[in-house]
Amino acid sequence: MEPAPLPGLEIRHAGPKAMAVLLGTAIIVAAFIAYVLYARGAFENTQRLVLMADDGAGVTVGMDLTFSGFPVGRVQKIELAADGKARIEVDVPEKDAKWLRASSIFTLERSLVGGARLRAFTGDLGDKPLPAGAVRPVLRGDATEELPGLIASMKRLLENLERMTAEDSSLNASFASVKTLTERMSGPGGALAGVLGGEENARKVITALDRANATLASLEKVSARLDGMLGKADESVFGAGGVMEEARKTVAQLNAALGEARESLKKADAVLADAQKVSASTRDATKDLGALRTEVEASLRRVSGLIDEINRKWPFARDTEVRLP
């Protein structure tokens, strides 16, 4: 028996429409699967890079390896290696492999917010390319590991801050002094009163300044007078008939006198030469005088002997002095 027809399904061209819906659905599903495969890099050639990390926590299959913030690879597999390290296998598309070089460094960073990040750093892009299947160690950059030290430092910092801001702290005392200073500075004496510690002192300084001003004014007058005097002195020294001219004349005269003196000295020199000659003659004469003296002494001794003889022969003669010419 035929079932009773159900209402609400009288639709024109239901077959083609249903076919269109099914076809559209199939196309959407197929296209989406193809797009996901493309997005996951199923259609591009890749090279394998193996990263060895001490700790693989936070690393997941599918996560990116980034270079300068751009993804250049994708984690395909994570396993525990024979030496107990985490072995992370990364597929790098060949078009992005140029960013990784033999000297590239790889880091695994874990931040407080968000997942772990695998990053590559290449210092020298001219270095030789990273070979396929290369095994590289991963350096760890863990923000949470720094946390206890950071907290300890912050605690010390806060304690210092607390000490600094305490009621009897040096900082507060300094601020109080600054306040006193600024109060004084805003008084009638102004900044001077603040610096010198009182209005009286400021007044003294102002008086001293006034006096100094007066002194400077009188000094200015003195200076003007000195200027006049200097002008006159200049005139008397360097002017016509002045000291300088007289001095010049005197120097000329002195030059003449010196010339004369030079001549006199030459003459004296000649005299001295003559004297030298005289002296030489005298030396010769002195030699003759020695002989003469010897002769004289011989004569004297003979005379003495003669006198002694006479005396012996002439007893009343008592004057024995012999007078020489």
Binding site: P3, L6, I11, A14, I28, F32, Y38, A39, M63
Partner: protein
């Protein structure tokens, strides 16, 4: 007489399995079955398509806006597309489509089955079920699949436009995020979940009505009973899917 809850569940599962087996059997697709299934598919999916697309686009624009601005506030804008794909495309849109189709067509189907049962048509064996209800169930299930596919496509397109505008330069980052969100296991789980949703929406209201009372006054209760059954099954499937994916 009302069956106990485990009994009803067992009967629903059995009914669903039989319907699924019949739907997967090529011999089922005779000309009248194809015509009736096409009419049901058109009534459930084709007629509501424009409104459904507009609704999905609006919902997607709203969600991507909320997620992106929130992620930016927390400095996590790199994760906004991933979060969006997981939340809207993988979870919300399939659930929303299943609920929408079950409210729009499943309730009516359950009521009609209840009327058939009151009229004694169903006492004539499996032929009436196969002739009338199976094509309509197939149509409803196909509508769930089609609307889910269209809804996800609209959501993904709106997400791209919402994040990058009409510039082509966001495609690299977009493709990478999509590739990361839709891992093969995730995609397989998603397909399985949508298939379960389709089967549940197509069979649970009918199963609830087939096992109902023969009295005329019980007919108004058939639709709510079927809907509650659908909601429970959808919640169980969704919960199991989330548990398997994120546990």
């Amino acid at each position: 007489m009302q069956a106990t809850l485990p009994g009803r569940a067992a009967r629903s599962i059995l009914f669903g399995a039989e319907a699924l087996a019949a739907a997967l059997s090529p011999s089922t697709y005779t000309a009248p079955v194809r015509a009736l299934a096409a009419r049901q598919l058109c009534a459930t999916a084709w007629e509501v398509l424009p409104g459904f697309v507009v609704f999905c686009a609006a919902l997607a624009a709203l969600v991507i806006r909320v997620i992106d601005s929130t992620a930016r506030d927390f400095g996590l804008s790199g994760y906004s597309l991933d979060l969006y794909a997981r939340l809207l495309v993988l979870e919300l849109i399939p659930l929303f489509v299943a609920l929408f189709v079950s409210v729009r067509s499943g309730a009516a189907l359950g009521t009609e089955v209840a009327l058939l049962r009151v009229g004694g048509v169903l006492d004539q064996g499996n032929d009436p079920l196969r002739a009338e209800l199976l094509p309509r169930g197939i149509g409803v299930a196909a509508a769930v699949l089609a609307l889910t596919a269209v809804g996800c496509l609209v959501a993904l397109v709106v997400a791209y436009v919402g994040l990058y505008g009409f510039s082509p330069w966001g495609h690299g980052a977009y493709a990478r995020a999509i590739g990361q969100a839709f891992a093969p296991a995730v995609l397989a789980g998603f397909a399985l979940k949508v298939a379960f949703f389709a089967v549940a929406v197509a069979t649970v209201p009918v199963a609830a009505s087939v096992g109902g009372s023969r009295e005329m006054r019980s007919v108004p209760d058939a639709a709510p009973r079927g809907l509650v059954g659908v909601f429970v099954v959808l919640a169980l499937v969704e919960g199991a899917s989330i548990a398997l994916q994120y546990a």
